[in-house]
Amino acid sequence: MFVVKYRKIFYTLSILLVLFSIFTISKWGLNYGIDFKGGSIIEVEYTGVRPSHDDITSVVKDSGVTSEIVVRPTGEKGYIIRTADLASSTMAVVTTNLVSATVGTSTVGTTTATSTAGATTAGATIKRMDTVGPILGAELQSKSITSIILVILAIVLFITFAFRHVSKPVSSWKYGLAAIVALAHDVLVPTGIYAFLGRSGGFEVDALFVTAILVILGFSVHDTIVVFDRTRENLKLDDHHKEAFDKTVGKSISQTFARSINTSLTTILALIALYIFGADATRNFSLILIIGIVLGTYSSIFLGSPLLVTFWKGQKNK
């Protein structure tokens, strides 16, 4: 099987991807959203021509927001405004003034009226407004870390358990190790790409990103296990170890090749539909999942199983 034969080429490719990711993550870091660091977000959409970027910034500033204000255009007629977390009263003033803001005006009207999301006055709609206090941010941070650790632990235990009977010629914990290398690769690379997108496209790390990473974790193992499972079965069939281990692995890869690609393909097709047609809220989520699943499939074929052969060669040369 060519995969096993040319495994060093695939290793190199993976190492390059991982190095790229480590570079982007360490250089730019992750662009955390308000879920994590706390803050407020307002999305406003104007029915007519939208006011300029500067107009919006000054409207928000004049409404009593003292923190940094980040304004990004969204769609044809909208803006997304990010600030530090606002008191509900300030939020009300800001939204009222945003709704009444028109082209060329940066003056602010009365600051006593309350605002209503969804109400269309003066040609503008507040589509959503979110505020996350520091306590909720801290809660998400600690729960995200806990769940990532738990998922990894559970998966390692599961692999160890599933492959406990396989010991020849490569011991079962090495299957676990190979799966974990693949897993680390599948999580690191999308995170690195996300760091890059966060820098260039303003992609934010939020609760959905963590969810996507956890799903990728599950998927990566899912794919790797199918190939390992086949190796396990082929080893069992070949009781007397007539066949060299690298041949068995190669055979297992080619037997599961179509399946691995096809199941990932249907999942990716579903995700592409979600990316193109789906809600804005899940767009970045589907993109990161697509990247993760492509990588997960790649690593299960070109990384996880060839690693078994490398481990086997390593112990043979001792």
């Binding site: 939020m91 999301a117 589509k127 995200s144 999942t267 579903a270 539909a273 979600l274």
Partner: protein, 503 residues
């Protein structure tokens, strides 16, 4: 063999009928006015329906110990009750109010989460909810008759039991009062002033209680304890309360001056009990006797306890989604689902041919079942939940593909078609089980550590999706494939059962 074929075909037909039954349930339960099944509409989360989501942190540091214990769960439950009645007064349909306990950095944090579908006026919602609950004792106004006041109060709060304040140890069962002439004139006076209020909103209290009661200066902060007791002779539940030293004097003063009058207890501006003072009570220990059920007495005692000790709440997060955004998100998700399904179906048909068609049928059944499950549990659907559903449609094919690939191999080994199908299924099962297990682990952990409804929704749908797809891949696909009853592996059958690229 012939008999067996019949059996398989009957199962396949039964499955189809069942599928259609579930499909019509999915459909007709969305159409209003269909009787019983109209009780199962899809439940949409705030991000799809529009509305406000508020998260409060309860500050329980000053929650004093009452009766020697610090029952935080009880305090939160009482707080929840207070907030619920405030929201009901606000007139929101199907609000969700729940308390949550979470640990952040080793510190236990109590949260109160409020979801108000359709409410987009955030500031008004915050103003309605945000006050700290207050317990007050109010005496009926000078020059009013106690019967009239009671009657008027009870018109509004029908659940209030007739009750009396008596000293500890005294037994009074006579809590009813004869209706006097003054009553009817009082009621008509109140009605004339409150008709406008009543017509605008039935949920908001239509009585202006300040016309009936005046403040006494006695509030919950002077209350030391409240508990349920039982009358030793009648076994009737009673609520016994004790005041601290300052409260004792105030209470003695009030009860001394107002024998025969109503000393109502207000929690958060709403009367929770309207006992009549029977005697002066000097020692600060009183009993509220009335025709309480044990539950009513328990609720009253609980509200007295925790109303006495206000639980301050701080707003720590809000989320408001406009109706249009939610509507668009819902429409987009449905579109994505339909397109996803279509593209996957085309792929399956082109690559796997006849078994591909079977896979599409089983995928359709999967979708129909999932929709029914969403309605029956019911699952609150969010944009993330719908994303999980669409993702799960892609993944649900996985089981079928594993089986088909196995089947193809078995056929290549020279097995007959039927044996090939059987072997394919049998061998694929282990792989399906093992590979789905990792997704199940992920889903379960995600569900328990989710901080938002969005992520919880994702995890739940993902979990259900994986479980249901294991069932549909195995049971439904196998039954349909066998029921087709293709006998020989030649000619057309060979073409239909082979796939993709020749290798």
């Amino acid at each position: 063999m012939h008999y067996y074929m019949k059996k398989v075909r009957i199962s396949a037909i039964l499955l189809l009928i069942f599928g259609f039954a579930v499909l019509s349930f999915d459909y007709y339960s969305q159409v209003p006015g269909q009787g019983f099944i109209s009780n199962f509409p899809f439940k949409l989360g705030l991000d799809l329906s529009g509305g406000s989501h508020l998260v409060y942190q309860a500050d329980l540091t000053n929650t004093k110990t009452v009766d020697g214990s610090k029952d935080l769960d009880g305090a939160m439950e009482s707080l929840r009750g207070v907030i619920e009645s405030r929201i009901n007064a606000f007139g929101v349909s199907e609000p969700i109010i729940q308390t949550e306990k979470t640990t952040i950095g080793g510190v236990e944090v109590r949260k109160l989460v409020v979801e108000l579908p359709g409410v987009t006026d955030l500031q008004k919602a915050i103003d309605t909810i945000g006050k700290t609950p207050v317990l007050e004792f109010k005496i009926q106004k000078e020059g009013t008759s106690s019967d009239a006041v009671l009657e008027a109060t009870r018109m509004e709060q029908a659940k209030l039991e007739a009750a009396a304040f008596v000293g500890e140890g005294a037994v009074t069962t006579d809590v009813s009062g004869a209706k006097s002439d003054a009553t009817s004139s009082m009621i008509s006076m109140l009605n004339s002033t409150s008709t406008t209020a009543k017509s605008t909103s039935t949920a908001v209290a239509s009585i202006d209680y300040s016309k009936l009661y005046s403040d006494t200066g006695l509030t919950g902060q002077y209350l030391k304890s409240a508990s349920v007791q039982f009358d030793s002779s009648t076994r009737q539940p009673l609520v016994s309360i004790t005041f601290d030293n300052t409260g004792k004097e105030k209470f003695a003063d009030i009860t001394g001056k107002n024998i025969g009058k109503v000393l109502a207890i207000f929690l958060d501006g709403q009367p929770i009990s309207t006992p009549v003072i029977r005697d002066q009570i000097k020692d600060g220990s009183a009993v509220i006797s009335g025709n309480f059920t044990p539950t009513e007495a328990k609720t009253l005692a609980r509200d007295l306890r925790y109303g006495a000790l206000p639980v301050p709440i701080n707003l720590i997060g809000t989320q408001t989604i406009g109706a249009s955004l939610g509507e668009n998100a819902l429409k987009a998700s449905v579109d994505a689902g339909l397109w996803g399904f279509l593209i996957i179906s085309i792929f399956l048909l082109l690559w796997y041919r006849l078994p591909g068609l079977v896979a599409i049928a089983s995928l359709l059944m999967y979708t129909v079942f999932m929709l029914a499950i969403f309605k029956l549990i019911p699952v609150v659907l969010t944009s993330a939940g719908l994303a999980a559903f669409i993702l799960s449609i892609g993944m649900a094919v996985d089981g079928n593909i594993l089986i088909f690939e196995r089947m193809r191999e078995e056929l290549a080994k020279g097995h007959s078609l039927e044996d090939g199908i059987r072997e394919g299924f049998a061998r694929a099962w282990l792989s399906i089980r093992d590979s789905n297990l990792s997704s199940i682990i992920t889903a379960v952990i995600l569900y328990f550590f989710a901080t938002s409804a969005l992520i919880k929704g994702f995890a739940l749908v993902f979990l259900i999706g994986v479980l249901v797809s294991m069932f549909t891949a195995i049971t439904i696909s196998r039954t349909f494939l066998l029921a087709l009853g293709v006998k020989r592996h030649v000619g057309l059958a060979k073409f239909l059962f082979s796939n993709g690229v020749k290798r």
